[in-house]
Symmetry: C2
Amino acid sequence: MNTFEITYLVTLLEGEDINEKVESICLEQSVELPRALLDGHAKEEIVGETVYKEKRREGEYEVVIAWPIANLGGEVTQFINVLYGNISLKPGIRITGTDWTELSDLLNGPAVGMKEVRSRYQLSDRPLSATALKPVGSTSAELADYCYQFACGGIDIIKDDHGLANQVNAPFLERLNACVKAVDKAAEKTGDRSYYYPNITATPERTVERYRKAAEAGADGVLLCPHISGLPTMHLLAQMEINLPIIAHPAFSGQLTTHKTKGFTPSYLYGQLWRAFGADYVIYPNKGGRFTLDTDECQSINRAARTVDLPFKTSFPMPGGGIKLSNVDHWIAEYGLDTTFLIGSSLYEHPEGIKQAVQKLRAKLMTS
Amino acid sequence: MNTFEITYLVTLLEGEDINEKVESICLEQSVELPRALLDGHAKEEIVGETVYKEKRREGEYEVVIAWPIANLGGEVTQFINVLYGNISLKPGIRITGTDWTELSDLLNGPAVGMKEVRSRYQLSDRPLSATALKPVGSTSAELADYCYQFACGGIDIIKDDHGLANQVNAPFLERLNACVKAVDKAAEKTGDRSYYYPNITATPERTVERYRKAAEAGADGVLLCPHISGLPTMHLLAQMEINLPIIAHPAFSGQLTTHKTKGFTPSYLYGQLWRAFGADYVIYPNKGGRFTLDTDECQSINRAARTVDLPFKTSFPMPGGGIKLSNVDHWIAEYGLDTTFLIGSSLYEHPEGIKQAVQKLRAKLMTS
């Protein structure tokens, strides 16, 4: 029987027994019945099986459970359910890993991936820069003007702010066309090209439509919030053979990693799960920004996104928050060249203006 | 300017200032730029505005912020983003309420609702009973046989276990048809009808297709995990004019309510948000079951699902977990008649068999 393995950090509450707790996970995420009620071999086979259990400290265990592939019925949504459906309602269970090898028929990872992004943009051996067009409330013309300034300065990637949807001031199609034109115009002027990624976060059917429109209009990639449009929608986009790279944004995902004994580790969610579901770049809240991961967690995300040990193309880590022109050298030294640095406000507020700020940023990236 | 209001419980970390923290929410969930960078009136208008702030205890405040409707651009996904996008990554912010009045053009609530369910099924003035078909791994014939036994006993609602998807043993269409036939056959025999709700949790496009198939096959409603298929997908189903009632299941939602100073209160998530997004029944983890809400939280969910103060049809609260034949009287007294009680394992394991167990359950509901 083919199985896939999930690794858990199991923390015991006062009075809980590790064997009972692990048995309850094996039943809860499969048959949802007491073992005594399972009549016969066929149904016993459906239950998860503990293949590893090791005490890490008092009341805390690392546990690996093997699940029959057949339980998934070939559907990514049922994978999400087996991974963390009902146990999301229980205390003391945190997901730290999955052996993706047996799942690579079901989950296909990024359609493009880090290597092909580098080759498309002819940018090898240096970190990439990215920024966000904002604020919400601006007109398409205003956003396109920012786009032009960023592109003239030589930024690599310009993505929409994830709050830019289809508001009256800057409707999706109008904004898309205006911004594609702006990067084209800048490229004619400078001879160098920036790459525009519109936000396509919307209801699933509209997201698919906007993904097509983005490709038709000549955009270079897209931005998506997988926890708003849905993880299955991101996976669908990555299978559409449109092959525009997807930047995944963490909006609405924070609760999944916030609790040290529940949910997912940040590296599991942003590095492994998002990559498996098709993210070409993974934005995560960088240490020292407005949000709250620590250095080890950020480095673990970087490793998970880039490791060649997973059966998927690699993803670009894209730390956001706390990165400025003044400290980008530090972050390059810390995270390495295979990183796309997302820098927002500090470029907008630079006293010499956006273009000058980006030129200085570019100089730092070119010599790193 | 039209606005809608969200209520927050804001908890301060050591050294945080309430005014700065509230200002940061107002900016983070709109422009994502420092206020000093907003050039002119139009953009200032986009920022959230604090309309109420009251200290509840040391370091804890109730805060109401008004947001421009225009920021949503008419999209439910952008509502989710303004509600809890980036602030999901920050500590000490919990959503406790929304004034839905101004949002009732965007969010439409249940298509059917509690009243019409009662009228369709001609079941007034008593609580409803529901059970789950399981386990995963059974064949369609085995599940249909359980279905028949439950229906002969006189249960009101038979829903698929939320792990039954499209597995080889019981593919969706085969299971659907077999179970609809089973309840029909039981109805011919007993003169009373039970109502079958297949699980349609899948990728968004398949969920929509299965919703149609369920209606065509004569199912009475459907089961959906909105945090797996996506909240926007549930909202879409409720607008499709198929009008099969939707039971919403909490798989993968647990992290959103688990932290006392982050995420959503259980009554907000299960009672308000799910209702706004179209759930006709809201399953929540009952006190005393395998999961962990307390009585007050359960009662708050019941109130939020049923209150006529929201601009939506009412939803049926559907507590699951810890409810047995032996204690259902207690729960009826506690939660009242406008409740659908979800009872699973204790019916399967009853020594006299499923049919007898359900007959006893039915007798209790009829006299309550």
